[in-house]
């Protein structure tokens, strides 16, 4: 069967890295059609691609385990391996990749790396960039290259894996990856605090800096988001004010001690209510937090990247604008789902302008994370250009000189 399939969109499904490499090389040398790497198709709207006319490069058949030396706590897999499958395999050995991944039944490891997907646990464990120890990928001319290796410590050559993390398939198609794994924790517990104002939330967050506990995640959500998250977790939790939910994991006695200790530490900020959620319910609640950041059907999802100390000012304004807000609060990463009432481009633009006033342009970013495709031409992906913008353009030109790889992503980048 020819690997080129046609349906609503042409699709190429390579069975090997070599086949994928040859296909891209032929395209680059020939008709220069646009190529869109896809894994589980869970993040197609991320960074608002304006169109996808071309060929999808589907990694579904690049899904093999290359090497799993269990006792080394490392694994090498092909990029199309689905996260649930990966998790199932390593979980059986008491191991995990400590990255929160929404829609893990569909998402692939290549896609997670390309989108730099992360969630609440990033506060304690970092992001996928911290776990990629080796990578293979194919650039826009079909060159299959690798960097790093399969050992946890290695400084031979440049770290090209970092270049590909979060690059949205615009520089190269990730084909294989070696990952560092961690042991699975014994148990998990979450403490759900309700506060009456952004000010008290901010005070509690500041106290995290010197807390006697070591949370793995500190999640904020306003009432609008909180009620949806609690409902998704099928839990009856107070959700009509500002919520801070703090998560602990590890040995049972340690988790129990920390969950109790944070309640006594935060007592001075007069939370309206406190509820501790454990075991299976805690896992459900945690998953609801993980899914919520990208699961919204709202027309526009914003992502703000702020210093934690400056975050609540932004959140206060967003809440006033009726935006459902979730934040990885100790990291200053905020997701905002715009209300249905923002029904025109003008409405969205006005909301963006209001929010931008609360951000210090030297240390904060506001981006359109995903939006309806008919608006993607008109909304600025980045409200302010990130550091190194011109260099990024040079990376694009060097790795994909024909601009055949996913050029609708980071479209401002390509158009410079």
């Amino acid at each position: 069967m020819s690997p080129l399939q046609s349906g609503s969109q042409e699709e190429f499904v390579p069975a090997s890295q070599t086949e994928l490499s040859r296909f891209i090389a032929e395209n680059a040398a020939g008709n220069h059609r646009q190529l869109f790497p896809v894994g589980g198709r869970t993040s197609l709207a991320v960074c608002c691609p304006t169109s996808q006319t071309g060929i999808q490069l589907c990694t579904s058949q690049l899904n093999r385990v290359v090497d799993y030396p269990v006792r080394d706590l490392t694994i090498t897999v092909e990029a199309g391996m689905r996260i649930d499958e990966l998790n199932k395999m390593i979980s059986a050995e008491g191991q995990r990749l400590p990255i929160d991944i929404p829609q893990s039944n569909r998402a692939t490891i290549g896609g997670v790396i390309a989108t730099n997907t992360s969630g609440p646990k990033r506060f304690s464990y970092g992001t996928i960039r911290d776990y990629v120890i080796g990578i293979s990928a194919i650039d826009g001319q079909g060159n299959l290259f690798k960097s790093g290796g399969r050992v946890v410590k290695n400084v031979a050559g440049y770290d090209l894996g970092k270049m590909l993390v979060g690059s949205l398939g615009t520089l190269a198609v990730i084909s294989q990856v070696s990952l560092n794994l961690r042991p699975k924790p014994q148990t998990i517990s979450m403490v759900w605090f309700q506060f009456d104002s952004c000010q008290t939330v901010d005070q509690a967050l500041e106290a995290i800096v010197t807390s006697g506990t070591r949370p793995i995640a500190v999640e904020y959500c306003n009432a609008k988001a909180a009620s949806q998250i609690a409902a998704e977790a099928r839990l009856e939790l107070p959700a009509d004010q500002h919520i801070l939910c703090i998560c602990y994991e590890g040995p049972e006695n340690e988790v129990h001690w920390q969950a109790n200790h944070i309640v006594s530490e935060w007592n001075q900020y007069s939370p309206l209510s406190v509820q501790t959620v454990v075991t299976e319910e805690a896992t459900r609640l945690y998953n609801a937090f993980t899914e919520y950041q990208t699961s919204s059907d709202d027309p526009v999802t914003l992502k703000a990247i702020l210093l934690p100390s400056q975050m609540m000012k932004f959140i206060e304004m967003a809440t006033r604008l009726n935006i459902a807000v979730q934040a990885h609060a100790a990291d200053g990463i905020v997701f905002g789902h715009l209300p249905d009432s923002a029904s025109s481009l003008d409405d969205v633009q006005q909301i963006l302008n209001q929010l931008k006033k609360t951000i210090d342009p030297k240390t904060g970013y506001l981006n359109i994370y995903q939006c309806e495709s008919e608006w993607s031409h008109s909304l600025p992906l980045f409200c302010s250009p990130p550091a190194g913008w011109n260099l990024m353009q040079q990376f694009k030109n060097a790795l994909d000189p024909e601009h055949v790889l996913n050029s609708q992503r980071f479209n401002e980048l390509v158009e410079i």
Partner: protein, 502 residues
């Protein structure tokens, strides 16, 4: 004016040679550079330059033509722009602790020493970052944080001397890498002067920055992408408590099996360091820690975290050690005892002088489970070449540091050490590892690059380097093997390196 200056300058031999060769006279360059930093912050006399002929990699030497000490980013930028104008190669240097020749000024040129840029520009505990200048000594940052509950996690063994800028250049590791990661895991952003003299910011103090992770690519470039002039680094909470112990094993096999089982059981110690029989003897003779002289290996094991959980973790470790025939375990009950245990590890290399007049340390890595094989191979290699080899290394990371002992007055031994080192590193590759875990490629391991990576991999790395450094006058001939057609001066290894294990 220019002529006057040139008459008063005492030019070194290499500079004179270049003057005679034509191009624009160095005397003008020196005059202009002096105008940037002042007369006291530039060296160009032959005897003064000699100090900078090498870094911690002392095998090959190359004297810079000019050494200059800027105190600001603006000065670095101006210096680099001048080097471009005069087409003179340049490179950055921190404390010079690189162990692979990263600071070797191949072919001379201008050495930009950053040790006078050593200020802490910002400490921000609420947002968990610090902004420092590149010449800041690693340990000084952690010292400045004492009492705040935070520290800077990457801690190379040379942390009392090495600089943050150098750590970024080489993506330094250290004894606590196993749990806390290497430098790249702790760098949020940086400012750099690119090889054309432009100043750029990559990343920033926020948890991430939109677009490509360029500061991630920059870390570990070994000085070939430009000169880091500011670093934004993540601060890490101090652990509430530690448990530190020394486990004495009869054989290396028992010790490595214990390591493997700990990791498999889900225990990630904050440090897991091994010393073998040869090192134990040297250390014991020098410092009298009370190690049994007939022991095969000693493991330094440290776990950290919340007090409430540590004893249970220690119990598990003891159980695993017992299962693997541990002879005895010494535990540190006080901070003083902990420091003493760490002293036995950190001063191990200092004791090597008792064993041999010269030594050469390698920096191979293997998957943790292959440690018994590489250690066995090292022992065989020792026998094969009639060379004594001892080991002190980061066992938890699979990063071995075989130390080959020899007498540099004996030319025959020098050749044997080179051949034995090569075989050991080849074996690391064969076992699925790498030839450098933390020292870097520099000039020392450049010949290995084409054995680790194929032509396409190297071409991609070259493309990336050329984005930053298209003319290649910044720290030239490092990391990537030069093309056969290049006319630039080459460095070939003619002597074993004598270096401190990290």
């Amino acid at each position: 004016m220019v002529d006057d200056t040139s008459q008063t300058i005492n030019l070194s031999a290499p500079v004179l040679e270049k003057l005679e060769a034509g191009s624009r006279p160095f005397s003008i360059l020196i005059q202009k550079l002096t105008g940037i930093v002042g007369k006291t912050d530039i060296l160009y006399n032959a005897d003064e330059l000699l100090v900078y002929e090498c870094d911690g990699y002392i095998v090959d030497k190359s004297v810079p033509d000019i050494v200059i000490f800027p105190t600001s980013t603006a000065q670095v930028s101006e210096i680099v722009k001048l080097c471009n104008e005069f087409n003179v190669p340049f490179l950055a240097r921190g404390a010079g602790t690189s162990l692979s020749g990263g600071c070797l000024p191949i072919g001379g040129g201008v050495m930009i020493v950053l040790t006078r840029m050593k200020q802490i520009l910002e400490l921000n505990l609420r947002d968990r970052y610090a902004i420092v200048e590149p010449g800041m000594v690693n340990l000084h940052l952690t010292n400045a944080l004492k009492g705040t509950g935070y520290h800077y996690a990457p801690d190379p063994s040379s942390q009392g001397a090495c600089t943050i800028g150098g750590n970024i250049a080489t993506n330094s590791g250290g004894p606590h890498t196993l749990k806390y990661g290497v430098t790249t895991n702790h760098v949020l952003g940086l400012e750099a002067v690119l090889p054309d003299g432009s100043v750029i910011e990559l990343g920033g103090p926020t948890a991430e920055v939109p677009g490509y992770d360029l500061h991630g690519v920059y870390v570990g470039n070994e000085g070939t992408f430009g000169i880091c002039t500011k670093a934004i680094v993540r601060l890490t909470r101090d652990p509430e408590a530690h448990r530190t112990m020394l486990a004495v094993f009869q054989t290396i096999g028992d010790a490595t099996r214990a390591i493997s089982e700990m990791i498999a059981e889900g225990i990630i110690p904050s440090a897991l360091e091994m010393m073998d029989h040869g090192i134990i003897q040297a250390v014991e003779e020098a410092f009298h820690f009370g190690f049994p002289l007939d022991a095969g290996a000693v493991l330094l094991i440290e776990v950290d975290g919340l007090e409430v959980a540590l004893d249970a973790e220690v119990s598990k470790i003891l159980e695993i050690c017992n299962k693997n025939n541990v002879r005895e375990i010494q535990r540190a009950d006080t901070p003083e005892e902990r420091m003493l245990i760490w002293k036995s590890r950190k001063q191990a290399f200092g004791a090597i002088g008792r064993l041999s007049p010269s030594y050469c340390t390698q920096d191979g890595v293997v998957p943790r489970t292959r440690l018994p094989e590489i250690l066995e191979f090292i022992e065989q290699t020792s026998k094969k070449y009639g060379l004594r080899i001892v080991n002190v290394f980061h066992a938890g990371d699979g990063n071995v540091h075989p130390i080959l002992l020899f007498d540099e007055r004996d030319q025959g031994q020098i050749q044997l050490v080179l051949e034995a080192s090569e075989e050991i590193l080849e074996k690391c590759l064969e076992l699925g590892g790498s030839v450098t875990g933390e020292h870097g490629i520099g000039v020392e391991k450049i010949n290995f690059m084409s054995r680790i990576f194929n032509e396409t991999d190297l071409a991609m790395m070259e493309r990336v380097r050329n984005i930053f450094n298209p003319r290649q006058i910044c720290s030239r001939d490092k990391v990537l093997p030069p093309h056969a057609s290049d006319n630039s001066p080459k460095v070939s290894q003619t002597h074993p390196a004598r270096r401190a294990p990290h």
